[in-house]
Amino acid sequence: MEQPSRGTAPSAAIVNRLSQRLADDVLPLRALVERLAAIVRTKQHVYEGKLRETGEDLLRAVFSHLKARTGHDFSKYKRATVLRRLARRMQVKQVPELKDYLELLRDNPSEIQALFGDLLISVTTFFRDSAAFHALQTLVILHLFEGKDPSSAIRVWTPGCATGEEAYSIAMLLLEEAARRELRPLIQVFATDIDSGALATAREGRYPVAIEAGVSEERLARFFVLEKDHYRVKRELRDTVLFAMHNLTNDPPFSRLDLISCRNVLIYFDRDLQRQACGIFNYALNPGGYLFLGASEAADSPRNAFLPVDRDARIYQSAGHVPAASLSPLRAFGMTRLDASFVPPAASRAVLPPSDAAAHKLALEEFAPPSILVDSAYRILHLSESAGRFLQHPGGPPTPNVSDLIRPELRLDLLSSLSRAFERHLPSLTAPVNVKFNGTEAIVHLQVRPIERENVESTALVLFIEASADDVRSAELRSFSPAGPEADNATQALAEELQSTKTLLFTSRQDYDTAIEELRAANEEMQSVGEEYRSTAEELETSKEELQSINEELQATNQELTHKVEAISRAHNDLQNLISVTDVGTLFLDSDLCIRRFTPRVADLFNVTANDEGRPISDFTHRLRDYPGIGHDALKVLTDLVPLECEVESDANRWYLIRMRPYRTIEDKIEGAVVTFVDITERRLTESNLLQSERRLQLAREATSLGIFDYDAAADEFWFDARCRTLWGLSDADAINLDVFWAGIAESDRPKAQEAWRHALEASGDGVFSVEFRLGGRNKDQWLRAIGKAFLAEAPKPRSAPRLVGTVQDITAAKAWEAQQVLLLQELSHRVKNTLTVIISMARQTLRGETTPAALQKYEARLIALSDAHDLLMQTGWKGAEIGSLVHRLLAAYAASAQGRVIIDGPELLLPPYLATPFAMLVHELATNAAKYGALGEKGNVSITWRIVLQSNGKVLEMLWQESGGPPVSTKRRPGFGTFIIENGLPDAKVEQRFEPGGLVCRVELPI
């Protein structure tokens, strides 16, 4: 039967079946169908045929195995039925050979149980064969109450009760009858079976609603309670029936029963076992007790144990206890299983003192003629010691019938005498008859006397009187002497007539015997035909039961399948809806890559319609760009069982994520492939935008060499970008938090940085974070400017705590510039101060208290010379002034007036600032003097030349100022500040002024 799948509540039918252990296999639906198909395909009769040819040994092994495991012996069950049931099990288990099945039995206790269960298949209903039950009700039930007082009990036994319907049915009839009577005796129904599972069900008293078909409404109302989906037996009915495990053929029976109902049990037994069972029934019933059998069953064996009451309804009445000798040997019963009210057989007789009785008996035996006691059924009830001689048992089963047993010679006479005795109650004495004993001949008379007694059945006594030899002879003589001397004609005639009559009689007897024999033979034939028909009927009955049970199983299976189909329908509907809702193109391919099914979206990409299911996918064009390999890829997925993913663009410029996976069934079998097409155009666009944006950001960061930090106060999470990590000396794996941030900053700058941080995080502030600090650690002395802002809302919601995001920028260079700037300013300040001081000094010395225009002019001119020097120094950033440029500059004022009269020549030389200024002053003085008194005046030439020479203590600048052609030299020049400037202004220089005849010559030697 079908295995209920997880999640579905098993139906009541399944639960029932499972609890009754009738299912052979519990499988998932698909496997179940396959198994059924396999079973149907292999025909059962093939198995049966094989089985029938199987050796007895194997079968015996099966039976002994069954007996060992279940305690029940099936060797006496009807062979054909057993083989059929065995074949069915083998078919279900797909084991064709019995020896293999035996192996299976040995190894699997569950199979033993299954076989046992199958052998016990019994189908039973309430009031089965309602006509028979009606007959039972009218013919039997009434009589059961007769002669019972309230203290006595009506005892009923239903062996083979299975699930109890029959026992309950009979109990119901009894209870109904009891209700009609005033006096109610106790009703006891013993219901037994060897199937413990069935008994359990019977005890529960729970029956499906379907019993309404066999039970009338009144009975349902009176005896049952309707509970939800089943009927339960009411207490009154339940208490009437006692269920017990009992093996009819093995265990001692109940006794003193009024009714035994054993229906459709005997059909499973072979002839011997049937007879045994009937014998047991006879034993168990009170005389006159009733036996109720199933259709196609009969209680005719042992003979005369039962008399039919209603043959059609299969109701019999016990003819009284059959003596033990005429029954097949009963097994010895174990005392423990005996009914407590077991009555020992036969009342005991009064006993005479042995010696007299024995002596008398012996005497009688010796001298009295042998005798036999016969009952009205012509059965020998008792024989005397020597009566056996006159009996000759024919071949065949033992029989008590006197007509069979008596010697043939005596038969005719005996039968007629017995007939006379029973019917007319007249004794008789027969004429002597020749009897041939072994070797000897004897003449025997039979004397038959009827015995009538009150309350006892009529019997007859047959005495065998043997004539002596003389009597024999005389009898012979008498019988065979037709003529004698004294005989007269009348006597002669009479004797002749007698003779011919005797002869006629003899031949008649012969004919009669022959006829009897023929009739007997015919009767035997009829009986065997009847036997065969009965066998057939029984087999049909058993087959019918099997089919009924199979039918019920199939119905349950069918119900299950129906439910399953409904579930599948629903699942299918769900699936359809799911697919259309998700809007994903899905393509299902089978193992040959043919289209099994697809969702509407697939039609966007492939030229498929609903009619194309079943065709290979490679038949169709698709609108995917640069993707030739869908068939190839699907094949790869099928063979390698590895999923595949790729992104492909369609002709409509949309992108799809194609995912291919093998199609797996629930049992993990591969049956094709599933391909999904997910539109990822938006995603790709977003991705590319994002990438672009990130790239831009990246470039900007690189361009600006900014580092970014992000602190989320709500989560206490700190984030550094790569540049910040580098600056703080952290690897990609290092954790970052606020403490790490502070630790990276130089200790001395930490307080101001922390203060700025606090300020930024203040709720009431502007949230701006701006601070410059140095880094510590590896990047010591690197200056950073940190700028950030605390955000208190992340649209549209406010944050629980601010988020401070900002950048750091390396300003080390800027800071260095700053420092340098400060230095430069200081330098500048110094210089300015110095220059001012110089100017003041120069003013003081030049003017010396005079403020005449000439003095002022002189002062101004000196200042300008000083300024010229400064200009040139500034041009080189105060590195120095180039001597040639300086001289040119200084003499530029005179270039106009003394054009062509000045020669300036010398190598390039950069004079350091402390030399350039005094040198400029020197040249200026010389020039001023030359203009006032010398060659730069109205006439004359000046040559200014210089060279660098290497002396012992270093390089020396030698300069020569040579005037010529000028006015005569005047010695009226007063030495003053100007002279000092010339002669002492240049530090460490040797300056010599000589007034040569041509003009002034000034020689300067200046170590540089």
């Binding site: 210089r831 110095n834 000094s841 240049l986 530090p987």
Partner: protein, 127 residues
């Protein structure tokens, strides 16, 4: 003090690299009656004069000669216990507070101030 020549007879070392200023200082001191020694325009010259010149009553120090601070000169003077006055243009790296006894005269200064500072240095306590 003699108003006309308040520094009469004092030998004063002048350390100054700008020659015009040095000339002027010499003139100022000479006019105040002092005997000016120098001007020493280089550290070497200044060190030499500071160490060897006898009978120096005081020194007038430009804080920076060229690119160099006059620290070495100060040490020599201090060792000889010759008091000194700073004549500074604020370009120096020297922390002049290290010598709290030394007066500081800022350039450019009137001659009188210079003379007064020197006078005070040479004759402390005397007004």
């Amino acid at each position: 003090m003699s108003e006309a020549e308040p520094l009469r007879g004092a030998r004063i070392l002048v350390v100054e690299d700008e020659w015009i200023t040095g000339y002027d200082l010499i003139a100022t001191l000479t006019q105040a009656g002092a005997i000016a020694v120098g001007p020493a325009a280089t550290i070497a010259k200044a060190k030499q004069l500071a160490a060897n010149e006898a009978g120096l009553a005081a020194a007038l120090l430009d804080c920076r000669l060229g690119r160099d601070d006059v620290l070495p000169v100060i040490h020599i003077l201090a060792a000889r216990q010759i008091p000194f006055v700073f004549h500074t243009g604020h370009a120096s790296q020297l922390d002049l507070a290290e010598w709290p006894d030394a007066a500081i005269v800022v350039k450019p200064a009137l001659p009188d101030r210079l003379v007064q500072a020197l006078y005070k240095t040479i004759q402390p306590g005397r007004c």
